[in-house]
């Protein structure tokens, strides 16, 4: 055993020998807890997300509504039924009052046979609400996927090249962001006509800009980071450095933005439908259903208010968007707590 001395300043202490501790067997069964440290960052984020009850409720509702939309009517692919189930009792477009086998008239209040009632054309609102999710939900996801991918590429290029390229590219972003999403989408749809893919295009064309700005900011921060400078000094190429460091850092805010964005797009699509500019008139899209039922809130013959025509489709939008936002909040909290948690635990 070596004699250990520490000698700085006037007082010198000898005999406090750390090796006695490191070399002896532990005196008691007590050990330092290390379990939490070994888990990876993403595992911890995931764990926190899963433990967030609100977010889980949101996720369940979103999955449930999506499932209902898929199972509402059979899905055919080149005349071949991929999904044969049919949860919705009637085809969404059928005007049932004209069907002799169904005993129902127009504007019928909710009943056991028609839980959400029927609309002014005698269509079964319950079937239409179930089926309508196909439009809103899928447009929401497709738009966000397109907008986020394009925006991320655009933003990385802009931030990566910097200089006047960045300057010009970002002015374009400024221009796009100078319009409210809905206004620009409105003009685009008005000019190019309504329909599924036109709606997707309209919202994607407007939506990419915020992702571009986000990612560009991230790239710029990374570029200035010391460890990136160090990696570059060691000869790593810019592009690989940026890919390696930007991706993990930027993925978090992009996911948050994207989840919250889906709700915005769904509302936007419904708003266009409500203004009569989305899907073709008569579609079972939630917003278009509201437009069809707008005059139903004014008392009809006999002073009756046909509330069911507006309440149910709108409630479907509300429920879906709310659940989406609950998920978004959960993701945000799971990622955020990461930062503050680290702060709280940190040294001093």
């Amino acid at each position: 055993m070596t004699e250990r001395t520490t000698e700085r300043g006037r007082i010198q202490v000898t005999g406090f020998d750390p090796e006695r501790v490191t070399e002896r067997d532990p005196l008691s069964g007590w050990t330092e807890e290390t379990g939490t440290e070994t888990k990876s960052r993403w595992k911890r984020v995931f764990g926190r997300f899963v433990r967030n009850r609100t977010a889980m409720i949101g996720l369940v509702v979103v999955l449930f509504m999506s499932l209902l939309a898929i199972l509402a009517r059979p899905v055919e692919f080149f005349g071949f039924a991929v999904q044969p189930l049919s949860l919705a009792p009637y085809p969404p477009g059928d005007m049932l009052y004209a069907d002799p086998t169904v005993d129902v008239s127009r504007n019928e209040a909710p009943s056991w046979a028609h839980p959400f009632g029927t609309d002014g054309s005698g269509r079964d609102i319950f079937s239409r609400v179930l089926y309508g999710g196909r439009y809103s939900i899928s447009i929401g996801f497709v738009v966000v996927a397109l907008a986020a991918s394009f925006g991320m590429v655009y933003g990385s290029v802009s931030g990566y090249y910097g200089g006047w390229v960045d300057e010009i590219m970002m002015r374009v972003v400024d221009v796009v962001l100078a319009f409210p999403m809905l206004v620009l989408a409105l003009v685009i749809v008005a000019m190019f006509g309504g329909g599924y893919w036109q709606l997707v295009a309209a919202f994607a064309v407007v939506g990419w800009a915020s992702y571009a700005r986000l990612i560009r900011g991230e790239v710029l921060t990374i570029k200035e980071n010391e460890y990136v400078l160090a990696a570059k000094a060691l000869g790593a190429r810019d592009r690989s450095v940026i890919l390696k460091h930007v991706t993990p850092n930027a993925v978090a805010p992009v996911i948050v933005l994207a989840t919250l964005n889906i709700g915005t797009v769904v509302i936007g699509v419904a708003a266009l439908g409500f203004l009569g500019l989305g899907m073709p008139p008569g579609s079972a899209e939630w917003g278009s259903m509201l437009e069809g039922g707008r005059d139903a809130i004014i008392p009809g013959p006999g002073g009756e208010i046909r509330w069911w025509i507006t309440v149910f489709p709108g409630a479907a939008i509300f429920l879906f968007v709310m659940s989406m936002n609950m998920i978004g909040d959960g993701v945000n909290d799971a990622l955020d707590a990461q930062e503050t948690g680290a702060e709280m635990r940190g040294g001093q």
Binding site: T6, G9, R10, F16, L27, W30, E32, Q348
Partner: protein, 360 residues
């Protein structure tokens, strides 16, 4: 007479990972005008102790029990309004990181004169005048024009001086300094410490100086309490602590940093790290890291004892000399075989050798 007497103070945090007992049955007292040091590694509970004195512990933390007698009055029994009259007025605090302790959107001058207006009922002009005087006292050049600067326009050292001016503004009886110089570089550190000392003497203010640097203690303090895992493990006068430490943890700290400013490798020579305060090791909580630990240390939790007699003195806040190690109650088979040597400045070694049992 003591200005502050802390009795059996226990503070717990109810966190997701469990109950953190950040301060566990703490007793100590500070005399009027005395400079009292609190030393220990990160996480020992020093800041929590300081905040408890001001009753500034927040959810999820709670002061579970104890008394905090300030000039004979138990602060824990005061109403919120009464407590606010004491904060900043009779007890003031200097924070570790001046940059975060100053509000970025108000001028430094405003943040100091605010306290004067609040506690001493000064008018605008009067408060401003006094603030400029204070800034000048703590050594800020061109204090008058600096009054309306924002915190980000001050250097780190100047920010800390401003915080000190703020703390001294209402002439407190007790000044709590929580690592006032950790964020500063060495040359400024020495100056700020000197200033705190001089100002405390001038205003006859008692100081509780928190640090994890024994060098700082040596420089400033009269008496010292060494904390480990939420409890005091040794109390002594500064003199005695350095020449005749009675607790292995103190000895470990001393072998780490005996000089101001040299922070490299600090705390490295004590093996391991401070345990998580949720579940402490059984017996003496230092035993997993103590080179002198024996079987007995895992079974009995040593109270603070008089190192001469081995009498339990843990309930006496005013105790002069105490250490919480089983060596003093005769429960250990071996001696604490460390030695302290004092070298004269000329380099020739005069050996005043002391071992843990106080025999020379």
């Amino acid at each position: 007479m003591s200005v502050l007497e802390v009795r059996d103070l226990t503070v717990k945090f109810y966190t997701g990972e469990g109950v953190v007992t950040a301060v566990d049955g703490l007793n100590y007292s500070i005399d009027r005008g005395e400079k009292f040091g609190v030393v220990g590694e990160s996480g020992a509970g020093k800041s929590v102790t300081a905040l408890s004195l001001m009753r500034l512990i927040e959810r999820p933390g709670y002061i579970e029990s104890g008394q905090i007698l300030f000039k004979g009055q138990d602060l824990l029994e005061l109403s919120d309004a009464e407590m606010r009259r004491i904060r900043g007025n009779e007890i003031a605090m200097v924070f570790q990181d001046a940059q975060t302790a100053l509000n970025p959107v108000y001028t430094v001058g405003e943040q100091i004169s605010e306290a004067l207006r609040h506690h001493l009922d000064y008018g605008e002009a009067e408060a401003k005048e006094r603030t400029i005087e204070l800034l000048d006292t703590v050594g800020i050049p061109a204090a008058e024009s600096r009054y309306s600067d924002y915190p980000h326009e001050f250097s780190g050292g100047m920010q800390q001086r401003a915080i000190i001016a703020m703390a001294l503004s209402c002439d407190p009886d007790l000044l709590i300094c929580d690592e006032p110089t950790t964020a500063l570089d060495v040359t400024i550190e020495a100056k700020i410490l000197e200033e705190i000392e001089a100002l405390a003497d001038e205003f006859d203010t008692a100081i509780q100086l928190i640090t994890h640097d024994l060098g700082v203690i040596a420089e400033v303090c009269d008496r010292v309490m060494v904390m480990y895992a939420g409890s005091p493990v040794e109390t002594a006068s500064a003199e005695e602590l350095f020449y005749d430490p009675k607790h292995p943890y103190t000895v470990g700290l001393m072998s780490a940093i005996p000089r101001i400013g040299d922070r490299r490798e600090s705390l490295q020579t004590i093996p391991g790290t401070m345990p998580d305060l949720v579940e402490l090791p059984p017996g003496c909580s230092f035993h997993p890291r103590c080179p002198f630990a024996e079987e007995a240390c895992t079974r009995r939790d040593p109270p603070l004892m008089d190192p001469e007699t081995g009498a339990d003195v843990s309930d006496d806040p005013g105790v002069e000399r105490a250490a919480a190690c089983l060596a003093h109650s005769g429960d250990l088979e071996q001696d604490l075989d460390y030695d302290v040597t004092v070298r004269e400045p000329d380099g020739h070694t005069e050996t005043t050798v002391t071992d843990g049992d106080g025999r020379v």
